[in-house]
């Protein structure tokens, strides 16, 4: 599985959304994720990809594509 597919699977599980809704352009806001959802999501991504995403970086993640790029750039 590629990074996008793994991120998508986590987003689908954490936010309880349909996988057809999740594209690289999808924003977390459009998936109705609140700040707490984002915290949980970021923690799940950290665990899955074995990396640390600091507060400042996490705040910049607005779309699925942002998250995928961050992960690819920091693995």
């Amino acid at each position: 599985m590629g990074v996008f597919e793994k991120v998508k699977a986590i987003v689908v599980e954490q936010l309880g959304v349909d996988e057809n809704e999740v594209t690289l352009e999808t924003s977390f806001e459009s998936l109705n994720a609140d700040s707490l959802d984002i915290v949980e999501l970021v923690m799940a991504l950290e665990e899955e990809f074995d990396l640390d995403i600091p507060d400042d970086e996490a705040e910049k993640l607005r779309t699925i594509g942002n998250a995928v790029n961050y992960i690819k750039g920091n693995q």
Binding site: L36, V39, E40, M43, D55, A58
Partner: protein, 322 residues
């Protein structure tokens, strides 16, 4: 009831009371040290101070007491990371933080071996905090002063959180006397946090005019004010808040120092809180818990503690506490 100790990591407070951090400049060294001297935990409010001011307050508090001194720094502050690290370099006893949620602070806490205590209003965030390494949790309800994260009562949320985590749980919001403390402990809390009662102490750094205004305010003067931080703020009405209610655009700032990570810019909260603390009770923003009207006197911290201990010792669970 017997008065239990409050343990947070290796810290032991003889009286299970944390004095809430009250920014800007309401809880500084004199108040925090006086509370620590009585066996509670004193918190210096770091939000709105410069790094140099925060360091000076921590050193002054240490000079005054051997007791437990922590800092409260709001996550929404633009200087959050710098203030926390400065306090950690000063070997502060604990960090309390609310109004937003930092994950980084737990990493820093581990690095410096300093307990981190987040203020939360939901079971979900309490569980996340425990997983991240929180030493204890402060559960804050709608009765608290300043920025709020819920419209539920602390007395409702606290038992739920207590069942969900294995770290100490501290109740905050609406606790003004010893009977309240005993009741919240009876709900399962390991301690309480009290703000407004200590804001109305002799040692609080609020101007005398601020204290008098709050003391004379009536129950119906309580207001929720839309804070530029993006959360409702609990306070007491005055000329400033009345005008803001009528015209949300009335106080849009013309200049900005960028003190918050994100600011709605409906008014300058730093400027308004500073004004109030300095005694401008017409134009300042007066934050307060919802039960300020139950407080009838400005007392020394020593007398506040004597009263609370006495009421706790005479508390009987289930007895009519009116």
């Amino acid at each position: 009831m017997r008065i239990p100790e409050l343990r947070i990591a290796d810290l032991i407070a003889k009286i299970p009371i944390i004095q809430g951090g009250m920014a800007i400049r309401i809880s500084l060294a004199p108040l925090a040290a006086a509370v620590a001297e009585e066996g509670g935990i004193g918190l210096i409010a770091g939000t709105g101070l410069s790094i140099a001011e925060l360091v000076a307050e921590i050193r002054e508090a240490r000079r005054r007491t051997q007791g437990i001194i922590g800092v409260n720094i709001m996550y929404a502050s633009g200087q959050f990371a710098q203030l926390v690290k400065a306090a950690f370099e000063e070997k502060i006893d604990l960090l309390v933080s609310g109004a937003g949620f930092s994950r980084d602070m737990f990493t820093w806490g581990k690095e410096y071996q300093i307990p981190v205590v987040p203020i939360v209003s939901t079971v979900k965030l309490a569980k996340i905090s425990e997983k991240l390494g929180a030493a204890a949790i402060i559960v804050e309800g709608k009765e608290a002063g300043g920025h709020l994260g819920t419209d539920r009562s602390m007395r409702e949320i606290l038992p739920e959180v207590k069942q969900s985590v294995d770290i100490p749980v501290i109740g905050a919001g609406g606790v003004v006397n010893g009977t309240d403390v005993a009741e919240v402990l009876a709900l399962g809390a390991d301690g309480v946090q009290m703000g407004t009662r200590f804001a109305l102490s002799e040692e609080s750094s609020a101007a005398p005019a601020w204290k008098e205004y709050l003391l004379q305010a009536q129950e119906e003067d309580h207001r929720y004010i839309k804070s530029p931080v993006g959360l409702p703020g609990s306070g007491v009405r005055n000329a400033f808040s009345d005008r803001l209610e009528q015209d949300a655009e009335a106080f849009k700032p013309t200049s900005c120092s960028g003190c918050l990570k994100h600011c709605l810019r409906n008014f300058c909260i730093t400027d308004r809180l500073n004004k109030a603390q300095q005694g401008d009770i017409k134009e300042g923003l007066i934050f307060s818990g919802a039960y300020f009207y139950k407080i009838k006197e400005i007392l020394s911290v020593h007398r506040i503690f004597e009263g609370i201990k006495n009421e706790m010792l005479h508390y009987r669970k289930g007895a009519d506490s009116t």
